[in-house]
């Protein structure tokens, strides 16, 4: 590793810290969406409950895909550290495909619920469900766009220092979303089906 001016290192450290603060504030947003969900859990307005709507197999598939994508992103980071450009592109692509697979599963689930008349307008419980799980889905969508942009930057700019710094922050974001998902299956799907 070539010696870099201190100011440059300082710049990237500041960015990483700023992004970390963003992630912590995002965690608070999710925590409050979880609290809202728990408060609204009983407010089904005589509509369907989680027990009737959730599918254990479906939630397991979503969990598996997202968990695997966290590991494949890790492989992309390792490839970056080993300065392997094809490795980075390959693993980022695998991560993006797994992310898209997750979104497809979530889309099937949501559209199936809405078709059954269990959309977000059905009850307070369902409003809270779609707000919480939908916000996570929006984050995953943003993450996939970011992954595609980073694949483009690795292709055009190569494994430069600024690109490394961006991929590192994207990694924080992607692993963070997987942690939020642990909360979702442990608070929403599993207790709903017990």
């Amino acid at each position: 590793m070539a010696a870099l001016p201190t100011s440059d290192t300082q710049k990237y450290e500041d960015r990483a810290f700023g992004f970390w603060i963003y992630l912590m504030s995002d965690a608070i947003i999710f925590a409050l969406l979880f609290a809202t969900y728990l408060v609204m859990l009983g407010n089904t307005a005589r509509g369907p409950t989680g027990q009737q709507l959730f599918s254990l197999e479906h939630a397991a598939a979503e969990t598996a895909v997202l968990l695997l994508s966290s590991a494949t992103f890790g492989f992309a980071s390792v490839a970056f550290a080993q300065a392997s450009r094809p490795g980075v592109i390959q693993w980022l692509s695998v991560t993006a495909v797994l992310g898209l697979g997750f979104l497809l599963l979530e889309y099937q689930e949501f559209s199936g619920m809405i078709a059954k008349g269990a959309g977000p307008d059905r009850s307070g419980f369902l409003s809270a469900f779609f707000a919480l799980v939908g916000t996570h889905g929006l984050h995953v969508s943003a993450g996939i766009i970011w992954i595609l942009v980073m694949i483009g930057q690795v292709l055009t700019k190569g494994l430069t220092r600024p690109v490394a710094s961006r991929v590192m922050r994207l990694g924080l974001f992607w692993h963070f979303l997987d942690i939020i998902w642990i909360g979702i299956f442990s608070v929403v799907y599993l207790p709903g089906l017990v």
């Binding site: 810290f17 609290a35 254990l56 492989f75 599993l190």
Partner: protein, 105 residues
């Protein structure tokens, strides 16, 4: 890569360990719910404990959080967010369920 985005030589080992542990910690609660043999309360308690353990596993093996390796400011921000979450989520549930209880009377 470290906090500053410097590529650091690293192996796949932590990710594979994390993936293995996360798989086990996910499979147990899903299997418990699928089997449905334990009483409701014990199942919920086990789900909650395994979820907390799995969050710690992800923080350690995927986000590489360590008491020595992670800058102090990052740990401080995380602890601060954790305290805010406990206050806000705990307070919300306390107030709303207390209100719910009183409205039932």
């Amino acid at each position: 890569m470290d906090a500053s985005g410097l590529p650091v030589e690293r192996s796949r080992r932590p990710y594979l360990i994390g993936l293995g542990l996360a798989f086990i910690l996910t499979a147990i609660p899903f299997a418990l719910v699928a089997a449905g043999t334990l009483p409701r309360i014990s199942t919920l308690v086990i789900i909650a404990i395994l979820a907390i353990v799995q969050v710690l596993v992800h923080l350690r093996f995927f986000l590489h959080i360590g008491f020595r390796s992670t800058p102090f400011e990052n740990l401080a921000a995380m602890v601060f967010a954790g305290i805010l979450i406990v206050f806000m989520v705990g307070g919300t549930l306390w107030i709303m369920f207390d209100l719910h209880h009183r409205m039932m009377m």
